[in-house]
Amino acid sequence: MIARLAIAALTRRRARTALTVAGVAVAAAMLLDMVMLGSGMRESFRGFIDQQGFQLRLTPRGTMPFDSEATVGGATALVATLRADPDIVRVGPVLGGKHFVAVDTGVVAGFLLGIDPAAQGDYRLEAGHDLAAADEIVVSTAWLAATGRALGDTVRVAGGYDPQLRRATGERTLRIVGQGRFQMLAASDRAAAVPLATAQAMGGADRADRVSVLLVETRGAADAEAVAARIEASEARLTALSTEAALKFVDERLGYFRQLAFILASVSLAVGFLLVTTLVTVSVNERIGEIAVMRAIGVARARIVSQIVLEGVALSLAGATLGLGLGLVTARWLNGILATFPGLPAAFDFFRFEPGAAFRALGLLVCCGIAAGVWPAWRAATLPIATTLREEAVA
């Protein structure tokens, strides 16, 4: 009967209730989006790193992976030393650089990655086959579109270009054997991968036996942080970055985003709380005579409080449910816009739906609905019955 009265009280003024629910839904959607934004980028980045399957990234001392053009020499010996470590399963050397392809309209420039096909995490093959010979190349979809080439074609690729002499350097004839999705690059990036030795040779003497990054997979039971510390201690030229350290670094860089998300999420909660409080208070004021009569005929205070709190909860629940859908749609739309930012990996998510976090946030909103109903409920339950009835009769 109390639930029936609570629902009836809300449906009595349908337009007003619908508008309040819509307001709560917008607040809930914003809350959800901010929660998704707060954790989305970090988790997205973690997904990329985990997808690669390497726990450590070794870079020239003091640099981050591909933050600069710095490289480390003596790569062959370094890789051999690392592979001899019992705590290391795989080592994937990578040399990053540029490459140039002559087309009818000029020159197409792009990223070139020199990799070990047996230990790489930079691209996922979508068509064709992986690198098996020194004169083979795997390219991105955008690369094929920009150069007008197709799988199976042979192409002249230069490792450098001298604009003064208008001459390509380190040129090689390569066969396009695969089309890949380069996970750390934007979909619009013209990216290509060749065997490490080929990339080193195309870079000339400056790049001989050098690498930009060494990706390291540690043995399951090994402590990646301990392995990183050991490598840094034994090889002064390297910085060893574990997945957790990389995430911490990302966290620091995303700190402002998270603060902004937290502030906006708090504002959303406050708006939801105020909306529900306002509606429930107005509704209680309109029904003050009815409530006094209920008290007069013997309805307990607790029952009155339950009914009014239930109204707040019903409003919050309805708003949160609608807000969940609205938030997901909005997040998808915003993600689509933000994903077009230059230089961002295509699969990078700003808004990532984490069911636990999302339902905790919406649960918090429902708790706000409970809190929003408490004050008007208590006020209604403690009103002086005789005085209220007299005032109602006079009114």
């Binding site: 029936r4 009280a9 007069a296 005929i297 005789a386 109602e392």
Partner: protein
């Protein structure tokens, strides 16, 4: 017929603070009502009639004195006990009916029974029985706005009787009704009383007062006259 006091009010007072001083609406009033009686309390506006009714129904508490209803002192009950007493010990009928507008007639009657935790089937059956008693057996599913004033007051009476109270308290039950409907209401109250319900009404309605067995006149918070028009034995 054995006549026992169902209500006994002894030297009750009710004072209200007003503009920095204390105003007494009821001043040392004593009243006994026997089981099966129908008492009409009459008097000019502001004489303390409604305050008396609120005190008798444990809606309000006297500042002095003692009220015993069905053997229970209700003048010093805490909120929870007073609420429980109002639920099962007395039934209220208000001048403006005060039905829950979102509930049907049957649901309005069921409300006090639901609060008293009566099983759904039993309260539904009793609600139908009470609505039939007050002549509304075909109107159970109607909402208050679909009922006339007289019909709403009948539903209010059915609601007041839901938990079989020892005493029915009615505050100007004909105050919002036209003459014909008011007469029907008086007839219903008469039938209720004839069937054994003890009634105390506060009224300005001369016809209602004439129908009661006993008429108590109040002025300035005290009883100035108490006339038994039809002794219980007369109809026993």
């Amino acid at each position: 017929m054995t006549v026992t006091p169902v209500l006994s009010a002894q030297s009750i007072r009710r004072a209200y603070p007003l503009a920095g001083r204390s105003v007494e609406a009821v001043r040392g009033l004593s009243l006994d009502v026997m089981a099966g009686e129908w008492v009409a309390v009459v008097g000019p506006s502001g004489c303390g009639k409604s305050t008396l009714l609120n005190l008798l129904g444990a809606i309000d508490r006297p500042t002095a004195g003692r009220i015993v209803i069905a053997g229970r002192d209700v003048s010093a009950l805490g909120d929870a006990e007073a609420t429980r007493f109002r639920l099962t010990g007395v039934g209220f009928v208000f001048q403006r009916f005060y039905l829950m507008p979102t509930l049907t007639a049957a649901e309005n009657v069921e409300l006090p029974m639901a609060e008293a935790r009566m099983p759904r089937a039993a309260r539904s059956a009793r609600a139908r029985e009470l609505l039939a008693y007050v002549g509304l057996d075909g109107r159970a599913e109607h909402r208050p706005f679909q009922l006339s004033g007289g019909e709403q007051q009948r539903v209010a009476i059915a609601r007041a009787l839901a938990n079989r109270p020892a005493l029915l308290l009615a505050d100007e039950p004909t105050g919002e009704l036209d003459a014909r409907t008011g007469a029907e209401m008086i007839a219903l109250l008469d039938r209720l009383n004839h069937d054994g319900t003890t009634i105390v009404t506060v009224t300005h309605d001369e016809e209602l007062a004439q129908a009661a067995r006993r008429v108590v006149h109040m002025r300035d918070g005290v009883i100035v006259d108490d006339v038994v028009r039809r002794p219980l034995e007369a109809t026993a």
